[in-house]
């Protein structure tokens, strides 16, 4: 199993290495714009819970970015599947479903961790020093585990690359803005807060923010992320079977 997992992961890493000079600027543009527009221009004189808005924003951006970047492997899988037919090459090899999903999920996590590093560097340029402790990285890791697992499952279910784009618009984009990434959830009415707490991104934003600002994050957030990630992972393994035919 480990051989197949490493083969799938190695393939993704080779492609990522080949594209790295294009990926790093693309990972930087959106966070940079958010930092300039929301953090520097709009939030310059705003303080939340004793922290500058920039300090509040960057962990939220990290949560959002680790979600979108890990989910982005869905597009890669779809392009490989629908346009290049590379999925057939893997299907024809002695690779089981579990190894395939694990390899792709690991690639999604790697992508999320690398893009998080880019945001941390940007944060430093803006003069924000976050505490990148174990709980911070655990939050990033679990968040990307959730969304890369979801990505593999959805990539197997969709029938075209266009469907994938729709899913990103209707599932990922709303979560990116509503999950406590840009503003405190306390600003929402109670029913809205309860609703938003169902989303895994909300737990990721809370955990990553608390850890990076030197506070103690709630363990329940990590448990929710781990449980959701495991659930999506199992569903993804089942979806790979469905992708046949």
């Amino acid at each position: 199993m480990i051989h197949s997992l490493l083969a799938v992961y190695y393939r993704e890493m080779l492609i990522m290495r080949r594209r790295l000079t294009r990926l790093i600027p693309s990972w930087s543009v959106s966070p940079l714009l958010y930092l300039i527009a929301f953090g520097y221009a709009m939030g310059k004189h705003v303080a939340i819970d004793g922290h500058s808005y920039m300090e509040f924003l960057i962990p939220g951006l990290i949560a959002m970015n680790s979600m979108t970047q890990s989910f982005a492997i869905a597009s890669e899988i779809n392009i490989a599947r629908f346009y290049w037919h590379i999925f057939e090459e893997i299907q024809a090899a002695p690779v089981n479903d579990l190894s395939y999903v694990a390899g792709e999920v690991l690639a999604g996590i790697t992508r999320a961790i690398l893009s998080t590093t880019v945001i941390l560097i940007l944060g430093k340029i803006f003069g924000v020093n976050l505490s990148c402790n174990f709980m911070f990285w655990l939050g990033v890791l679990l968040n990307s585990f959730v969304f890369s697992s979801l990505a593999v499952g959805l990539a197997m279910l969709v029938k075209s690359h266009g469907d994938q784009v729709l899913l990103t618009s209707f599932v990922i984009t709303p979560m990116a803005f509503l999950g406590g990434t840009f503003f405190p959830l306390e600003n929402f009415p109670v029913w809205g807060q309860n609703l938003i707490h169902i989303l895994p991104i909300t737990h990721a934003a809370k955990a990553i923010r608390a850890a990076s600002l030197g506070n103690t994050p709630q363990i329940s957030s990590y448990i929710v992320m781990a449980a959701t990630g495991c659930l999506f992972f199992v569903i993804s393994v089942m979806c790979v079977k469905k992708a046949k035919d």
């Binding site: 199993m1 051989h3 197949s4 490493l6 083969a7 799938v8 190695y10 393939r11 080779l14 492609i15 080949r18 594209r19 290049w84 037919h85 590379i86 057939e88 090459e89 893997i90 299907q91 024809a92 090899a93 002695p94 690779v95 089981n96 479903d97 579990l98 395939y100 790979v240 079977k241 046949k244 035919d245």
Partner: protein
Amino acid sequence: MIKVENLNKIYKSVHALKDINLHVKKGELFAYLGPNGAGKSTTIRILTALTNPTSGSVSINGFDIKNSGFSFKSNSIKSRQQCGLVPQSINLDQELSVYENLTIHGLLFRMGKSERNKKIEELLSYVDLSSRKESLVKELSGGMKRRLMIARALMHSPSVLFLDEPTVGLDAGMRRKIWGLIKKIQQQGTTIFLTTHYIEEAEFLADRVAFLDTGTILVVDTPSNLMSRLGTWALDRLIEDKMEPIYFNNREEANNYIASQNESFTLRRVNLEDAFLSMTGKKVK
């Protein structure tokens, strides 16, 4: 080697394969000839466990491949290691190099590093791509990509090689080059299952040919037997915008017929297209 019994495949309302029975012998080059949509690729997809059959059984070297795809069963892994697949569409990683594509295949088939590297060197020389080892796939010509796909399918030394329309879209010169390569692979003991809609490809390469039309096998025989059923020579005559062939056992008979008629004819040897046409009433292409 390859044993197919009562194989059926139904896609929603389309009965793509109907009670297919086949037995391909070890070391044989077996061609599956039929027009587009006849069910050739579906058969290959089932034989290589990419698609599940609706009913029937398939075994390769005694390993049942039904439902073996992408699973944990050791039987499935063994059956997959027996097979090499060159699909119809180019499915190489375009952004990776020739070497990287072969390396990934080797890793997927659990080959160790030294074994992998040795095989890559050997196969690149075999398909005449040694000088392009570090080139990106997207920089290769269509013929080079096809040869690379064949090399990739041979990486794990399969005992059966499935070639799904391996020369489609190639010019005549490159097609001949690929045929030479396929013959060479067969001479080294590999069983080859080839689908094609190029008559001359089946004639040149195959030990035996199966005619497939609308999901049904019409006949399985050697190319020479299939052609000799009609005769040796054919005269084509134009009847109402349609070429109608007349068959003769020898050239002399054909010449006598031409002399007795006040029409113009084209004299040629009987080919597999004629055999297919006589059975189905339609051409392969």
